[in-house]
Symmetry: C2
Subunit: 342 residues, 2 copies
DNA sequence: TTTTTTATCTAAACCGATTTAATGTTTAAA
DNA sequence: TTTAAACATTAAATCGGTTTAGATAAAAAA
């Protein structure tokens, strides 16, 4: 079992002080007037003994870990997995590593993870929060801790936010459906909740309808609890049918709901798009292959991750710095789930 | 900006030594004969000052980080994302955290990540390797480092392996196709490579054919480079067509290939399953929704992650311990991509 | 020759925890 | 009264780095 080689071992082997070794290995030989001969010798010895720095020791002394925390609802969900990957890539380029965690849409888990991140000395945190407000977060992290919110946020957040223009996204989707002749359009969202993504998506939907002078019907705005998606979708469809108020199109406010719709509509022997059209917020690979393929509002996942990292780095380097929110735009990808009924 | 509270601060505030505070906070008050009064007082002060341990300091002193590395080809790929999630969950239950990284099927990246994990003081590593052999790994980690291989491995590996019975998996798939009357069956794998998953899957395919006295044809075993999947699948199909040797069924050795097949077959105006049947190794959600839905060999992802963690924990607690490989079984999930041509 | 400079290098403190080896007090036993 | 045992607590070392504030010796200037 090869014992770990420390800087003291190198110093011993080279017959110099720990200080000198540390300086050399950090490329500070020149500026500290260390002779080129000594520098070379130390470097060679370090290589020969296969020296590997202990990042805990360095982190402890420097008060910096070169790692950031990434807390998402579920890293195995396609959307968040892509986001995680994006953050990982850009972080590695900047010599940072990422500690990823799933909160499972559970507030207590999220708070515990935030706690853990600080104990693990994360220099900053990127968070897609499931909380209703940021009070508890500020209690745990303090106001100046480098934290960036992605995807979800609260009004007037103290922390910077990286998000997509949700309102515009559903507006585009609704406009699109209306342009295809649809008037009876439903939107299905996760709720009841304070999730900004969901409320903004409803707003966009309403805005579009109002612009086109279509009456907003309460029973077409459906809130679905995140832990019982499929059953509730079926219930809605059943209700519409029995009251003869079936919409001609559904906007699913995220990919889970869209998948639920796919399942439920099939189970109800309804045909997409002939009997009902579908547009999903979030574009996942599946929608390209599904039967039928599903029209979707795509989010620029890679850009979101990069913007979030960019933001967190700036905050780490200057915690006082005020950083404005970043709002990225979405793209409508038409496929075969929308029928032209004009 | 609230300064960090250290154990020294608590000691000062409580009028006791750091030693005592440390003992109390680690629940060792009783065994060290600390009076209940003192214990209570220290705990209260710790709560009031909102003390949070610095895990770097603890890790440095204890030589243990309570974190493990998880290196996968790509955490945004559905299969690996699920695996990552599984490892994360079981790790958290055991008070471990996971540092996840993607190697991008790149050998140098993988080696660098292994290096990084040791510097970050990971207590153990779970690895789905993209390397051809384990020599370099042993150079970096040493023989006794707690490392567990998942998904992929090499023959006679020094390190324990958690995997699925790949041979049996493709054998089941091939048997199934044969039972539906297919004789001209192709298998498409990622290659050329030493990836155990791929070679074993070919073996299972061959074994089944031989059992049924069907001749194994060289041009039905297709190796596809991982960076140019779709084009190569199309080329194969084109070649078969022009030589009039089109198979009636394809076994895709992983989900990427299956998706490629879906794309290419559609582009070639072929119909699944009428003109060609398809079975995929790896079951992903998409196959349930695709058109047609795709029959697949499902791997027990959750179990793989749990077994890997179980194994790594044992190794961490006793690096000398010999642990046998774990081989989990797959399940064939029939859907609509296979035609009965008997 | 004495004083400065310059060029090299280092001792020791520090980061925040854990742990070892004592230390000082009481109380109980001899 | 002396000795031993039980009790409660702590000083100091340690983990492996970085950094501050000198130290030493040789060369240059006075």
């Amino acid at each position: 079992m090869p014992k770990k080689v420390s800087i003291a071992d190198l110093a011993m082997a080279a017959g110099v002080s720990k200080t000198l070794v540390s300086m050399v290995l950090n490329g500070k030989a020149r500026e500290n007037g260390i002779s080129p001969d000594t520098e070379k010798r130390v470097i060679e010895i370090a290589q020969k003994l296969e020296y590997r720095p202990n990042l805990f020791a360095r982190g402890l002394r420097m008060g910096k870990s070169n790692s950031i925390g990434l807390i998402l609802p579920d890293i195995s969900n396609t959307f968040y997995a892509g986001l995680a990957r994006s953050v990982e890539d850009i972080a590695r380029k900047h010599n940072y590593s990422v500690i990823m965690c799933s909160s499972d849409e559970n507030k207590e888990t999220e708070l515990k993870l935030l706690q853990l991140m600080t104990e693990k000395q994360a220099d900053g945190i990127i968070l897609a929060s499931t909380l209703d407000d940021e009070k508890q977060i500020r209690d745990i992290l303090g106001d100046d801790f480098p934290l960036v919110l992605v995807d979800r946020h609260w009004d007037n957040s103290h922390y910077p936010v990286i998000k997509v223009d949700n309102l515009d996204g559903t507006k585009k989707a609704t406009d699109y459906l209306i342009s295809k002749g649809h008037q009876k359009i439903s939107i299905m969202t996760i709720g009841p909740s304070h999730l900004s993504t969901q409320t903004e998506r409803i707003e966009g939907y309403i805005k579009s309808l109002e612009t086109h002078n279509i009456k907003v019907l309460r029973n077409y705005i459906v809130e679905i609890p995140h832990n019982d998606i499929n059953r509730c979708i079926c219930t809605s469809i059943y209700t519409w049918r029995s009251t003869n108020t079936m919409p001609t199109a559904i906007i699913a406010a995220n990919n889970f709901i869209a998948l639920g719709c796919l399942d439920c509509i099939i189970n109800n022997k309804l045909s997409i798009p002939d009997e009902i059209s579908l547009v999903s917020f979030d574009d996942i690979e599946l929608f390209h292959y599904s039967n039928p393929s599903v029209s979707a509002i795509a989010q620029p996942i890679k850009k979101i991750g990069e913007a979030a990292f960019d933001c967190i780095i700036k905050k780490i380097n200057n915690p006082q710095l005020h950083i404005g929110d970043v709002i990225l735009s979405t793209e409508l990808i038409p496929r075969n789930s929308v029928k032209n009924i004009k």
